[in-house]
């Protein structure tokens, strides 16, 4: 054996590489398989393995192609890869150099779904503003489901447990298969015409293909257009279908759909108890606050000290009456002063004039009068003396002394014989006494 039998590693690898390059079958291959070890390098190139049950092959996709992909490749994706097979001499491996990669089968469906989601979202069909509120206490709920499904049993059990007050109508519907789409659309529209409170569109879990009706864009648009609030409960928690995006409420399962559609009677009883409690509490608070109000009114200082109601007025009154008195006094004083001054003026005037002159006049008159009276009195005294003297000279007593007398009958002086009658008692005045005589006889002188 000579040494030149041996090839260098590079020579062999180059030879093998040449074989790959020159092979027309390897120039362009279409391979289907499942992605594994998919890894996007920081350079932007995608490294992956493509495998099936028995084999696997490495693959690479350069950045420029990666950027054109409509999906983000991940492990487990079933894909169809379009590329050529080449050898990488650096580590002696061969790999598929992918120029394109698309999702295979269901994967393609998902791709379509993604596009539908984007479309409907861009049209605004997912917007919150379109979500109708789900009635809290529905009277009538329509279930669009298969009447033989486990889902329907779950839902009825849930309704019975939670809120048996509601009427449930079941619209038996094909939930999978080719005819399912039209049947679902038809039943949705029919249910919408019945004026129910809520429509529940629901089916249990199944394969992705089984649920595909609910990723249909026409079904989704129909759900969106209904006037009745729609709750969707499709498949399992992990399944989100297109109708879930447009429905008014997405429940993860059929049972969850019922839980969203009806209240729970246990919590309703609780709510009613709470209401009862609140009503009682508020009523008591109200009563208490009214009582407090009443108390505070009763304790209002003006009620407690009614005098405070008029204290001020009394003070005012005192103040005013003091003022009044003061005013009155000052007016009175003023007037008094004025009066006094006038009075003294008047007195002065009187004093200075009339009174003095009257006084003098009176005094003069008085003196005159006194003089006159004295004069008259003197004069009369003199006359009286003269008269007395005269009288003395004429006094009957003197005549009586000379022996004369005068007689009276009944105090009447007798001057004529006719004054005397027989039996008259005659009184005769003598010088030193009186003689009583009884007339015995009367003799008249003859003529």
């Amino acid at each position: 054996m000579t040494k030149d039998k041996y090839l260098s590693v590079n020579a062999l690898t180059t030879y093998i590489a040449e074989k790959f390059v020159k092979d027309p079958y390897l120039e362009r291959v279409f391979v289907q398989g499942e992605l594994s070890n998919a890894k996007l390098h920081s350079s932007g190139h995608l490294y992956f393995s493509l495998k099936d049950e028995n084999s696997q092959i490495r693959g690479i996709m350069f950045q420029s192609q990666v950027n054109k992909l409509k999906f983000r490749p991940k492990d487990g994706d079933k894909v169809i890869v379009d590329g050529r097979v080449s050898v990488y001499k650096g580590n002696g491996t061969y790999s598929i150099n992918a120029s394109n990669m698309i999702l295979d089968g269901i994967g393609q469906l998902f791709l379509q779904l993604d596009e539908n989601i984007k479309l409907l979202r861009s049209e605004g069909l997912f917007d919150e503003i379109h979500k109708k509120p789900i009635p809290k206490f529905p009277r009538h709920i329509i279930l669009i489901t298969s009447k033989t499904s486990a889902a329907v049993k779950d839902m009825l059990t849930a309704v019975e447990r939670r809120f048996p007050l509601v009427k449930i109508s079941i619209l038996n519907t094909l939930m999978q298969g080719e005819k399912s789409k039209n049947n679902v659309i038809e039943h949705l529209k029919f249910a919408d015409s019945l004026n129910a409170d809520t429509i529940i569109l629901s089916r249990g879990g199944g394969s992705i293909e089984d649920l595909w009706t609910f990723n249909d864009i026409d079904v989704a648009r129909t759900v969106f257009e209904l006037n009745t609030p729609v709750i969707t409960g499709i498949g399992h928690e992990t399944d989100t279908t297109l109708v879930d995006y447009v429905s008014d409420l997405r429940a993860t399962t059929p049972t969850a759909a019922i839980e969203h559609a009806v209240p729970d009677q246990i919590s309703l009883y609780e709510l009613i108890r709470n209401y009862e409690y609140s009503i009682l509490k508020h009523m008591n608070l109200k009563l208490e606050s009214k009582l407090n109000e009443l108390d505070s009114v009763k304790n209002y200082y003006k009620f407690k000290n009614p005098s405070s109601l008029y204290d001020q007025q009394v003070q005012k009154l005192d103040h005013y009456s003091g003022q009044l008195e003061h005013k009155f006094n000052s007016i009175f004083t003023d007037k008094k002063h004025y009066f006094e001054s006038r009075k003294s003026q008047i007195f002065n005037i009187i004093k200075s004039n009339k009174i003095e002159s009257y006084q003098t006049h009176v005094n003069r008159q008085d003196a005159q009068m006194k003089q006159l009276i004295k004069y008259q009195s003197d004069k009369n005294k003199l006359r009286l003396k003269n008269n007395i003297d005269l009288l003395d000279s004429l006094s009957p007593l003197l005549i009586l002394k000379r022996g004369y007398s005068y007689s009276t009958i009944e105090d009447k002086v007798i001057t004529d014989i006719d004054d005397v009658s027989v039996n008259d008692m005659m009184k005769t005045q003598l010088n030193k006494g009186t003689v009583w005589s009884k007339i015995i006889e009367v003799e008249k002188n003859d003529k």
Binding site: P135, K136, F137, R139, I142, K147, L156, V159, E160, F163, P164, L165, V166, K167, I168, S169, I170, L171, N172, E186, H187, F190, L194, Q265, L268, Y269, L271, I272, Y275, E276, S278, I279, L280, H282, M283, K286, L287, K290
Partner: protein, 68 residues
């Protein structure tokens, strides 16, 4: 006051209104007493409705209904 024909929902709504009104300051004592009475009656009625409820299930077919 309470109306036997009111739905459960209406009654619950009314009770809620009553609670809110009772909580507000601008009602008279008389009004609150009336609301209190109404509220207590309504809660009893709601209790009864729930206790006596029986699930009513029917199966619709579109063809039947079309014929109506």
């Amino acid at each position: 006051m309470t109306n036997k024909n009111q739905s459960f929902e209406d009654k619950m709504k009314r009770i809620d209104e009553i609670v809110v009104k009772l909580d507000s300051d601008d009602i008279t004592l008389e009004e609150s007493l009336n609301l209190y009475k109404e509220g207590v009656t309504l809660t009893k009625e709601c209790d009864d409705i729930l206790k006596n409820a029986q699930l009513n299930i029917e199966e619709l077919t579109k063809d039947d209904s079309d014929g109506e």
